[in-house]
Every structure is written in C-alpha cells, then in structure tokens.
Assembly symmetry: D4
C-alpha cells in the first residue's frame, strides 16, 4: 500500500495519539498531507523499517516520531533515512518525560534527531517545524507560517488581565 | 554587509567556537555555504535581530544556534524567523549542559527550536540536519548524506577489538 | 499609551496570571503602582522591547517577569534594560518548573536576573523584593516591609497545634 | 567597629573568596563601596546577625551572600533584614551547586532572596544587580551600567572567528 | 514559659503538621515527652533561637525539625545547639521535596543535621531515631524499640497476597 | 561467518571497549566463550539485526550491549530476539551516564532489557549475570560463581585499615 | 514449608502487590510456577535470607524483587544467592521512583541485579526476562515468548487512529 | 574477637577509607573509642550481621556506615540493630553521590538511618553527631563539642580576605 504523504507521523503506542494528534491536526490546518501510524521501535522494528522505506518511496519529506520512556522511535527512524526526523518526547512514565527527552535528544554524532519539547507543546512545534522545512520549496507555506505566527502574536497582545 | 550563506551559525560566546566549529566544518565538507558569528541573545539582542533579517534577505535557509547556561539564543532567533532554527545546548556551567538543554528544548507551542544533543555530538548533528533540510531542493546533498552515512557504517564495521 | 507604574509585571501566557496576580496584589497592598501584561519573549519579542522602553520612559523602577518552560522572558527583559529585573520561574510543563528555574537563573555574566522560587512563593517574594528595592527612596515602604514581616512573625507565633 | 559600605558581601567559607571576589572587584570598578566577610550561617549565626545590624546601622543598601552545599547564608541574612538580599549559589560539593541553588532560591513566601546563577557568573551578576538597585538614587551609576553593557555588546560584536 | 520535653519538634509552617504529627504521635506512643511548635527559620529566627535555649534549659535531649522548600530550619537549630538535631525534608513545592532534601542534608562540616527521608516516612523515622538516642540512658526504651521492630517484622510476615 | 559464542557483547563505539572489555575478560575467566563487536543501533542497524540472527543461529545464549548517550543498542537487540539481553549504560556525555541509564532501563512493557549499573561496575556485573543465566544448564558455572563470590568475600574480610 | 516455584517474587510492602501482581500473572500465563511474598530487606532481613535459602533448596531458578524508596530488597537477595536476581524499582515516594531506580541498579561490582524499568512496565518485563532465562532449558517457553512477541507486534499493527 | 568501641565505623570498600578516616580521626580527637571495618552489605552480609552483634555485645553505642553507589550498608546495619545508625553517602560513581544519597536517606518507615551529607563533610558530621549522641551520658563530651564549635566559630571570625 503506497504512502504519499508529505509528513509521516509515528508513535510508539495508541496512548500517544491524543498528544500526537495535535501535530497531525496542525499539519492538516496548514494543508500539509500527513499520515499517522502506531509503530514501535521495539515491538515492530521491521514494520518501522518498511514504513520508512514506503514513505521515502512515496515522497515523504519529513518524519515526526513521538514516544515515551526509553524513547527510541525517532532514533530508529533516523537510523533508516537521511530525511529530517523530528522527535517528540512524551511523558509516559513516573519520570515525567525526562527519560524520553534524554533518550530522544542525546543522539550520537552522525544520526541527528531534531528534538522538540515534552508533550503537547512539542507535538505542535514538530508540526510547525515540519511546515518550515517544507516551506523551502513551497513559498505559500512560508506565508502561512508568517500568518500563523502573526495570529499567535495578536492573541497574546489581545489578552486582558482582569 | 550582505550575508548570503545557506546556513547561519550563531553562538553566544567566543568560548563556544571550538564546539560550534565542528558544525561549520561539516557543512563546508558538504559544500554548504555557512557563516559563523558570535552574537548573544542577552548582550547583543539588536544585533541578533539584525543578523537574522540580513540572513533572511540574503537567502539563508537554516539557522544553527549554540549556547550554554540559560541558553536563549536559539529561542531568540526562532522568535524572529519562521525558517528552521536548530539549537545546540552547550555544557558551559557547573550543571553540565542540563540547564542549556532545558532552556533550549522546552519552547512554548508556536515557536519551535529543533534541539540536538549537548556539545560536540549536537553540533555535528545540527550540521547534518541542516544538510538534510537543504537536500529537499538539492538532490546531490541527499546523495552526499547517504554517502556520509555509508562511511559511518563502514567505519563501525571495520572496527577491530584487540 | 504611556505606562507610569513603579513595577511592571510581565508574564508569558494568560495561564500564568493566577500565580502572577499574587505579585500584583501584594504590590497594590503596599501601595506600589503596578501594571501587568501578557507578553511573550517568543511570540511578541517586539512588543516586549517596546513595553520595556515605554516603562522606562514612564518611570518604572523594577520589572517582574514570570514564565514557564524554556522561560526566557525575564532574560529578554534584562537584555533591554539596566533596571532590576526579577524572574519568577513557573511550573508549566511536565518538568515541574525545573526547566523554568534553570532557564531563568543561569544567566551569563553581564545580564543579571534576580530569580525567585518556583510558582506562588516566588511571585509573592518578587513583589516583596520589588518593594525592598523601591524602599531605598521611600522610607515609608521600608516601614511597611518591617510591619509586614512582623505580621508574618506574629502569624507564625500564634499558630496552635491541636 | 562601624561598617559603612553600600554593599556588604558575605560568604560561608574562605574557599568561596576566589569566586565572590569577582563581585567585590566589579563593585569597586563601579565605584560602589563594599566590604567582604567570611561569616557562616551555621558556625557564626550570632556574628551574621550582628554584622547585618551593623551594616544596616552604617547605611548598607544591599547584601550579597555566597554559599555552597545547603546554602543557608543568604536566607539567614534575609531573615534579619528587609533590605534586598542577593544570593549566589556556589558549587562546593559533589552535586555541582544544584544543592546550593535549590537551598538559596526556594525561599518560603515572605522572605525573598534574589538568586543569581551558580558560581562566577552569578557573583558578577550579583554585583551588577546591586549596582542597578543603587542606581535608583544615583543616576551616574545607571549611566555606568549602560556604558558597561555597551562595552559587553562591543566586545561580542568585535569577536572574530578564525 | 519553661519547656521540659525530651524531644522538641519544630516545623516551618502549620501546613507541615499533618506530616510532623506522625513523629509526635509515635514519640507519645513510646512514652517520650514531646512538644511541637511552628517556628520558622526565616520568619521567626529569634523565636527559634529562644525556643532552642529554653529547651536546652528544660532538659530537651533531641530536636526534630521538619521543613519544605529551602529547608533551613534543621540547620538553624543545629547552629544553636550541640544536641542531636534530626531533619525531616518535606515535599512542599513543585520540586517534590528534592529541594528540601538537599537543603537539609548537605550541611557544611562542623554542624551536623541527621537527615531522614522525605515526608511521612522521614517523620516517623525521626521519632524512632530520637527514641534510639534517648534509649542510651533508658534501657526500657531500647526494649520498647525492639518490641516495635518485632511488631513491624510480624506485620510483614503476616501479609497474605490474594 | 558463523558466530558460536555463548555470550555476544555489542558496543556502540570503539571508545566503549576499555569498559566493555571488563565484561569480556570476566566471561573468559569463567570459561564462557564470548565475542565482542562494535555495532551501532543507529549507524549499522542492519548489521545489528544480522549479527543477532547469526548469534542465535550459532547458539548464543545471552546478549550484552553497552552504549552511551541515547543508548538504544540494548533495546535494539532486545527488539530482535527473545533471548536475555543485558544492558550496560555508559557515561559518554556531559550528563555522566544518566542519559544512557534512562534510555536503557525504561523499556516499554513487552521488551525487557536487564539493566546493570553505569560503567565498569555494570560491565562486570553484566558478565556475572550472564554466567548466572548460563549456570542453569552448567552446574560447574554455578560452583564457579560461588567460588568467585567467596573470593570477593575473602578480599573484603582481609582488608586492613592503617 | 518447602517452596518449589521456578520464580520467586518478593516485594517490600503489601502496597507493592498491585504492581508486582502483573509479574506474577504474566508468569502464570506462561505456565511458569511462581510464588509471591511480602518480605522486607529492612524489617525482615532474616526472613529474606531464609526464604532465599528455601527457594534455592526447592529449585527456584530466578528471583524477582520489587521495592520502592531506598530499594534494597533486590540487592539483599542478590547478596544471598548466585541465581539471577531481577529488580523492579517502584514509585513509592515523592521522588517518583528515581530513588528506587538508583538504589536498585547502581550495584557494586560483583553482585549483579538485573534492573527493569520503574513500576508496571518493569514488573511485566521482569516476568518476561525470567521466562527468557528459564527458556534456555525449556524450548517450549522460547516458542511461547516468540508467540507473545508476535501478539504484541500484531496488536501494534492492528491499531487504527481515528 | 570482642569489639568494645563506642562507635563502630563500617565502609563498603577500602576505597572509602580516605573519606571515612576523617570520621575516625575526629572521634579519636574527642577521645571516643572507635573501630573501622571494611564490610560490604552485598559481598559480606553475614559478616555485617556478625559484626553488628559483636559490637552490640561489646557496648557499642553508635554505628556509622559509609558507602557509595546503591549504598545499602547503613540500611543493612539499621536492619540488624535498634541503636542509632548514621549513614554517609559517598561519591563513588558517575552520578556523583546522588545515587548513594537517595539509597541511604529514603528508608522506609520503621528503620531509620540518620543521613549526613555526601563525602568528607558528611563523614566529619557523622563523627560529631555520634559524639553528640554519646554526650547524653558523658557531660564532658558535651563540653568538648561546645569547645569544638567555638573553635570553628573563631576560625571563621579570624578569616581575613586580602
């Protein structure tokens, strides 16, 4: 089955979907095609490998991987591709995501994972970073990002404190 | 003075150069034009702003910012641009870079910083990530990345343990 | 629009107001004029800069900045002024404010941020510290601080354990 | 013996002097009178109390206290005065100053300690913060701070990377 | 007012009583006279000093001090007496008691604080440690401790898992 | 090329060899056949997979994997086999092995990695644990372990303090 | 009373049972005989010793020990046997299991404890690791593990995201 | 062989002696009889048990136990006696003593370990705490402690800063 999305989103567990959906929704909001899959570096290593291959063949430009605990998913994807891989550490254990952050960001030299913050903030920022990467070839996305940024700015400036 | 590099590298202090030079050298090795500047989010905020504007005007595609302690530089750049910003936390205090890591990666939703690992490994990976971003429009860079990756693989496979 | 408060309070998000309001209320209780604004180092950097300029022009003596996560707001204010800047780290992520504490306190030499404790205790103490700074020129504030301290002392001494 | 310095610097041990001397030297460079004392919250509590009284009587405006480990010195001074107390956590144990940072910054509501970064950067910033507090009544100090800041800016802008 | 308890219990805030009461109740269960007071190292330093003096005059043998955040209370008591001082770090901030633990245990050489675990476990163990110290002069307390220990052992051995 | 060792030792980098050699040497001392390879979860994922297959085919009973930073090697091996996998976190970054520890031990349910301590102590203990696993089928190894343990005991008991 | 289970499960407190029961249930699911006991390294050291002796005599092959706080139980068992000992750190204090993790995993050279992740994930993985150790002598267990792994894989692959 | 010292000092390894000797020397300086032994909770559990029994029989009043890593020694002693047990966490691993601190201090309710700071400061304070415990029955020790404290005070007060 061919995969032809611009951005492929992987997550280690169904439980990660409420957080990672924020990335998917934001990409869709920007008109960026995306596809989300539950795939585990440890329970389905072959399927991760195969999915990355399919995505590359189908023209995917960016990978986003969200995982908790000993979060190896982003690194496992990065080991299979030279496309940009964005990692979102999730707070899925008693250690509040510190485990996932260190397991995602402290990659050895040679295999980069672009790590975002823990949880929802990181998921949204992964989507925005993916858009900014795609924007190199699609000037309209850059304009959309500027408009989005301006909206954020306006929202902040409109805040009234009682 | 116009800046026309593909990748602009900023660092908060002259002391960061031995680490950040690894990013610059690796970019050069890939034939990616780059320019490095010491610019501080706190001591030269206006110059950071101005440099980002110049770079954008000159066609820069990716920013890399390395800083230690309360490492705000990458975030300060990200606040000024919608281009991809890569952050390299540096170990410049008694806390061994944990301060810089958290200050770089835990960005609020809306303003992403793609964070790499602490220190040299992070600096090299920032360069590779920048190349992978640029590779979307330059297929030869993708080939070069694959060749680099193959070299890493070969180096590992050639290791002999006495 | 001119700003003529003695103490300007900034916070990175509307969500920070329930905590930062404790600083505002305590300042008001001491008869110190204050004004609170939601302004983000990352989403509204220009507005932060402009607000600091306005405050300085209007005679503000002290800045208080509360922020969570990669808490750059206090540092961003400090980069724009040589007036005292007090930072309040907020617990706004899975890391319970440790990220905000390190991002606020570990400033590089040259740009001080006077950091208080995480959350409500820090917000109240920021107000008291601001009052103690203003008290240099207003002896009545010093008396008021002594009276406040005496009240705290009396409250503790009156505690009965059942 | 009367103490008539503007800024009183306390440190918990002779070993802290190489770091805290940076605060003293910077104050002197700004023409701010200062006096440094080794006084321990635990080994000389009465002398701390007495020294704070003397300083207050002599017109001291700001206290700076540097200490390591379970760094109680700044808090002990703050318990005795309503003048601004600046705390500098020092890395004096195997925990690299994290102990001193938390013991200094996490003050209960009512007794603020303005905490700076760990070690030398914090010591220098304590001096600058003290100058900025004194500057409310001495406009020339404000000018001097602006000049100092400009010097920092210029130093950064002059950096050349080989 | 004379204080003639064997063990004096201090706590920094009324909020600490539910935890510290476990120490008081356990002491009472062992027939050890005890008295509990809310007294703050920062808000009532003179009262802490005075209470320690009174206790010493009245024959107190052991001090127990429970506090949260920058927990200086045990250290402040230890600075005033050469009697054994037991410290109980309390989880009273976003940092879950890590701040209180480090602020209590990392005392400088010369002024010991015998630190127990964070929270209720620590409060109970402080009581037991106090009893074991008093037992040197009261053989019946040693027997009571052995009986208590045997009860704990029996309770564990009687546990049935369904 | 067939691999017929009882215990296969993998490590992420040549730099890990001085530590991991302690495991190899101890296995050899127990007469347990072992083979060590530099193989990286990120730079040579296919070779890791292939090596695990070969080892399984050749009769390997236990895997030991040592890695630093975002230490995924043990988890990557565990994803490929249901044989026991022992992980040794190595201190290879500014974070002193805390990153490797969390990335190794916090595995998701379903894919266990038996984690030992950081560095040399962990490497030696991995060897001993491997021997204890093999000992189920080789009673002489159990005897050898008991003798080794007795030697450790004797060494401790022979220690003289001057 | 003789104990003849393959795997003996110890836990420091009745409160640990809801977590450790996941290990017991999984072992039972694999047809591995197991027995669970509440036994404390500190409150019943002699009973721990005796239980380990009984288990060894009865043919137990693997020990699993779960404990929180200063989690010494696994280490105490390991000190009494050369059979494999698996440790499960539990989150039973304000420190969220970080205390138990370090107290379990950082064993000195010579006495290994195979440490799994904190809490439920670790308990399940301890059971699976125990099965993989027993599988050396029982090929059917190895098949069962492969089937279990395949089930996990299938479950992941069947996940649908709405 | 009978042991008749007032204070028994145990340490987990010969390597701990340079630190623990500071406790022994300070006790000797106070005229308190003491005996130091290398005994390991893991490598010589029976000898620990036996030594505690001997010490109790010989009249020992206080135990001091220093250990690093998963520092179980103090807890193991406390499990065998109701006499006061003082724990000194040592920095003997890459984690700088944080592991030993948590493994020593976070004891479950019922079995107290009086924990001192990490390393030399903790060792000295353990000796002073032991003296303060013994002083209940020997008024001269109390006087000696006061004199020692006065010496510390005088040393601090005599410090001259150049």
């Amino acid at each position: 089955m061919a995969t032809t999305c611009d951005v492929a989103i992987l997550m280690g567990s169904r439980n990660d979907w409420p957080v990672m959906k924020k990335a998917a929704d934001l990409l869709t909001e920007f008109g960026v095609s995306n596809e989300s899959r539950v795939l585990s570096a440890h329970r389905t290593p072959a399927a991760v490998h195969e999915f990355v291959r399919e995505c590359e063949a189908g023209g995917t430009q960016v990978f986003i991987a969200g995982a908790g605990m000993a979060a190896h998913l982003a690194g496992a994807v990065a080991a299979q591709t030279v496309l940009p891989v964005l990692g979102v550490p999730l707070a899925a254990s008693d250690l509040n995501g510190l485990d996932a952050l260190l397991a995602t960001v402290q990659m050895p030299p040679g295999i980069p994972v672009a790590t975002l913050g823990i949880g929802s903030a990181g998921a949204k920022n992964a989507a925005l970073l993916a858009v900014s990467i795609l924007a190199a070839a699609r000037p309209k996305l850059r304009e959309a990002l500027r408009a989005y940024r301006q909206t954020l700015t306006n929202e902040v400036l409109r805040e009234k404190l009682d």
